[in-house]
């Protein structure tokens, strides 16, 4: 597998995205905005279609549409907090509507379809550079704003009083989320990228006993699911997105069972103490 240049690129892109996606996912899950990833990945399809029609890099089109959609969702959520996830659903619907119309005009249906479920041969040399730069930005932002993000996740108002620049941090992560989702669509697939945002974090929520543990576990699991999934995709000749997500789902079931057994064991220990 390593002798092929395209596979080397795919694995390198997978390495960076496998760590970037859970770092973004932690913020989304803790802020209870997981559906935003789903909405962005779906709207990115319109950007991909637009890119294919205009003959520009589809990932660039996806990133542009994702950034606009992400800030629209955040603005609507802020302005109409009483309507909860409605803004997310509205933007997703608009994105899908636009994508369905644009798909009729894309040159050849195959390219667009490869973005739905991901492609093992899709990573270009520029994708390697862009994913590496993205990873650096996501990692730096996660470290620089570690405490701010934790406090915003507890309560944004409480965070503001503690001196956190809530609006700035939210804007930075909205931008990074949009770019991460758009870039992941090529390898993982538009329909599956939101699962990779959520599942490694969900696994760590079952197992971790502290915020720091949750961070480390989410990144390690995201990376593990991505790299093993890509390897499975190569050897079993299956779509990478499907392989990654089914592997992650298996991990989620194992984590849930582990948490259940730990709870039972803890209960039995307490009974024995009494």
């Amino acid at each position: 597998m390593f002798e092929f240049a395209f596979m080397q690129r795919t694995l390198i892109v997978g390495l960076f995205l496998g760590m970037s996606i859970p770092l973004i996912g932690i913020i989304m899950v803790n802020r209870r905005t997981s559906m935003m990833g789903d909405a962005l990945s779906h709207t990115s399809l319109a950007g991909v279609a637009l890119g294919l029609i205009l003959g520009i890099n589809p990932s660039l089109g996806a990133a542009a549409i994702c950034i606009v959609s992400a800030f629209l969702i955040e603005t609507l959520r802020e302005r109409f907090p009483q309507y909860g996830d409605m803004a997310t659903a509205v933007i997703m619907s608009i994105g899908l509507g636009a994508a369905s119309i644009l798909s009729d005009f894309t040159p050849g249906g195959n390219s667009l379809e490869s973005y739905l479920f991901g492609s093992i041969a899709a990573a270009s040399p520029s994708d390697v550079i862009v994913s590496a730069v993205l990873f650096l930005f996501v990692l730096m932002a996660s470290i620089f704003f570690y405490s701010g993000l934790l406090n915003i996740s507890i309560d944004p108002n409480l965070a503001r009083i503690d001196g956190v620049h809530v609006r700035t941090i939210n804007s930075i992560f909205t931008l990074l989320t949009a770019i991460t989702v758009a870039l992941s669509a090529k390898t993982v697939g538009i329909l599956l990228v939101s699962s990779l945002l959520v599942i490694p974090v969900a696994c760590s929520l079952f197992v971790a006993r502290s915020y720091k543990q949750m961070y480390i576990m989410s990144v390690a699991l995201g990376l593990g699911f991505m790299m093993i999934g890509l390897t499975m995709s190569w050897y079993m000749e299956i779509k990478p997105g499907g392989a990654i997500i089914l592997l992650a789902t298996t991990g989620l079931i194992i984590s849930a069972l582990y948490a259940r057994f730990r709870k039972i064991k803890h209960k039995n220990n307490r009974m024995a103490e009494i």
Binding site: Y146, I154, D155, L158, D162, G163, L205, Y211
Partner: protein, 243 residues
């Protein structure tokens, strides 16, 4: 619990605001989300080392008043002053500690420990990289010890009882050594014994630490029985009445 009005705290009070200013001054405050007024002609003044309770049923306007006091909602200019500073212009809130409602803390669904919570809220004492270091954990440990929470420091917050969760939140608010504490329904959803312990803690903070506080609650009888309140008001349909 020992008195801990540090030099820094006094310096801050003198530097940012005049120490003779009332802690909170609310003048002719009115507020409407759209057209119908939620609050009408609200007036009260809280002085240093005083306590003030605002009682009210659900929908009476007390949560709106709380959000206005904390600058979360925009009030008209010259209606709310905190330590002599108009709340609409207030950027630095280090002199104010806030204990949110239990339904806010119930939103914490991820495994954060009280130790991590208290270490990470010292944002102003962190450098360029906002990540807690050894000294922040040390301060957090000391504060947890002061509030008899050290044994629970490494237990996930979600696994603590309602009473311990609220005690963690008050420890978190007190860590910055504020001069004013604002508490929003802190005992809602907490069992009876823990409610009493929590309210007793407020007496200690006021008497020994010289903290001024505003307590917004619907549990009038329990507060009157347990807490030394200097001023008490009841809010009905957005109007504040003396109790």
């Amino acid at each position: 619990m020992s008195s801990k009005n540090t030099k820094d705290q006094k310096d801050h009070l003198n530097k940012g605001q005049n120490a003779n200013n009332p802690v909170i001054m609310v003048n002719n405050l009115a507020f409407a989300y759209v057209e119908d007024p939620v609050l009408t002609d609200i007036n009260f003044t809280l002085h240093s080392q005083e306590s003030l309770a605002i009682y009210g049923a659900n929908g009476s306007g007390k949560s709106t008043l709380m959000r206005l006091l904390l600058g979360e909602l925009s009030s008209a200019k010259d209606t709310i002053y905190i330590f002599g500073q108009d709340v609409t212009e207030k950027k630095d809130w280090r002199d104010v500690g806030y204990v949110p409602q239990m339904n806010v803390t119930k939103n914490v669904s991820f495994p954060v420990t009280p130790l991590e919570m208290l270490a990470s809220c010292q944002i102003r004492k962190m450098g360029f990289i906002k990540m807690p270091g050894k000294k922040h954990y040390e301060v957090a440990r000391k504060t947890l010890k002061r509030f008899s929470l050290l044994d629970y420091g490494k237990v996930p917050f979600t696994e603590l009882s309602g009473g311990l969760q609220q005690r963690t939140m008050i420890a978190r608010a007190m860590l910055a050594e504020p001069n004013l504490l604002i508490l929003d329904e802190p005992t809602a959803g907490v069992d009876e014994q823990n409610k009493k312990d929590f309210l007793q803690l407020l007496n200690t903070l006021k008497d020994e630490d010289g903290i001024s506080y505003v307590l917004v609650t619907h549990e009038k009888d329990l507060v009157e029985q347990m807490v030394n309140i200097d001023q008490a008001y009841e809010i009905r349909n957005g109007v504040l009445e003396n109790v």
